[in-house]
Amino acid sequence: MSIRIYVPRDSSALALGAEPVAKAIAQEAQARGLDVTILRNGTRGMVWLEPLVEVETPLGRVGYGPVTTRDVVGLFDAGFLQGADHALHQGIVDEIDWMRAQQRITFARTGVIDPLSIADYRAHGGFDALVKALTMPSTQIVDEVSASGLRGRGGAGFPTGIKWCTAAQVQAEQKYIVCNADEGDSGTFADRMLMEGDPFALIEGMIIAGLAIGATKGFIYIRSEYPHACHVIERALRLAQRAGYLGERIMGSAQSFSIEMRMGAGAYICGEETSLLESLEGKRGQVRAKPPLPAIAGLFGKPTIINNVLTLATVPWIITHGAAAYAHLGSGRSRGTQPFQIAGNVKRGGLMELPFGVSLREIIETYGSGTASGRPLRAVQVGGPLGAYFPAHLLETPLDYESMSAAGGLLGHGGIVLFDDSVDLARQARFAMEFCAIESCGKCTPCRIGSTRGVELIDKISANQEREGNVTVLKDLCETMTEASLCALGGLTPLPVMSALTHFPEDFAPPATAGLAAQ
């Protein structure tokens, strides 16, 4: 019987050489006359082990990683097809410490299945929720999602059930489901991994959302920086259409739903929901004033649910297993699980899905295992470019929406970026303002002009020009941006700036006057 070997095609695995490894394994097997089937899965999230090659054995899937083409002959010689020992042998993949303690709900199938096999998807519980949802009254679907406590995973954490309920109650001839796959925050890659590793979960979630609010059309807006995710989603959409899960009379029911993929064009701001809608309409990605809420007047003025990839991909699990099973996990008002991502200067980078409430320290120490450089950890940015920089003494903060906010930061999309002691926080603060200036859509003044003035102020402070006065002006500017910006870009850029200034004042001061900037 053919032995099954898994070599990930996730683009981070490709970035680390998975493609030549897959080819080398195929060639070596052929040269030795061995019967193997090479399957291309997503990633388990252990990017530090990629390319992680898995072999199916009677005991389970045995992992070897990180594998290079130079290791392939040795792996065959050692008997890796039987799960034998080797320097790269990691044991049964599900039992690796990184995997064991996780609670994989959204990412249950990612890295396990062939992302473009509907049969594999169904064998792992895929489309069970759609079958169930097709028999449920639409209000009951909305009620389940509400009762699960699911909140928007894009970063804002808005209760998904409320959004859906609002859109469901509006009467309209046309409604839309839009998936926000414009994952632009540095340190986050969960959306990408899910789209590349389990695309049908997203598609299924969108169809169910359509049933819930009476929408027949969906769009997935993916950033152009993710060419591989775009490719996988396009192929998955075609397969789902051909198999009758999309289009007219889905799965033989009376319901219809179709999905189109659209590619962004390199504008960070289009991750903001109203700007994304403008972009989908073929316009400049400029933020809209709210109200009206998109749930009432969204895409082309029609009621629109716009949700993040992970939010939508979690819905099928909730429908299958029930709201209570999901709500049972988590802490406080943050229910369920969050796929956290650890990145930057980290020894073991990757993704792990855990219930809310785990501490920053636990993720950094247990999963990350410290810095890649081996130097002391100095700062941690959580939640992307609009998230705060945390110093060592705040690492006990639990990772949930409310605790992070109380600590002066935000959870965002769950990305955690580590910096060692070579980091200059004044430079990071300047970058936050500079990034805001580059990516501002220009619609509101605090963001458009404030960001450029912010760069200038930080330069003056770093050059020790009228330090105290300029620190006061910077704080005042940040307050204005926070209070008066139209969206989160201008509104949250002050978070990394002010957290850097508050927790790392010494970086803003010239050596002779260290400490003054904190005044």
Partner: protein
């Protein structure tokens, strides 16, 4: 720069542009898909195509220009034969991307946003490619690269100079 613009104008294939525009004009929110197709076909969005788009979508020329200029992906002139996009966002900063940028300037006289003199390689800055767990990251002709090092950069520059797209 002006020379490449005028060369681009001369070689503009109006019929091809027209076909691409017509193929997508019926979509809801057709402008971005059309611009992507033009960018792909011509390696930039030719100025001469803008009036054709405006007419097909019943938009003003100013509307079309405004959209083209808003998005970083739509270029006004062709790039080099190869494109290296280097991520300059926080995670890659934490792993020393700025040292790589300095290396490119010193060892190869290449700066972000520029094309090499022989037209072989364009270097662009991007902000996040989703490979933050193996920073610093880059895309070379849309293929991902993780843990980018100065030695790997040297090899890419060499490779770009030796091969056509």
């Amino acid at each position: 720069m002006n020379m490449s613009m005028s060369m681009a104008e001369e070689s503009f294939d109006r019929a091809r542009a027209g076909e691409l525009i017509a193929a997508k004009a019926g979509l809801d929110g057709a402008l971005l898909p059309i611009l992507h197709d033009l960018q792909k076909a011509f390696d930039h969005v030719p100025d001469a195509a803008l009036p054709l788009i405006a007419e097909a979508l019943n938009l003003s020329l100013a509307d079309v220009r405004g959209v083209v200029s808003f998005y970083h992906d739509f270029k006004r002139e062709p790039s080099g034969r190869h494109v290296l996009k280097i991520c300059r966002a926080e995670s890659c900063q934490a792993m020393g991307v700025e040292a790589l940028v300095t290396h490119l300037a010193k060892a190869h006289q290449l700066t972000l946003g520029d094309t090499s003199k022989d037209g072989a390689l364009t270097i662009e800055a991007v902000y996040c490619l989703g490979h933050c767990a193996c920073s610093p990251a880059a895309l070379f002709d849309n293929e991902p690269i993780g843990r980018l090092s100065p030695a790997m950069l040297d090899e890419l520059v060499l490779q770009a100079g030796e091969t056509s797209a």
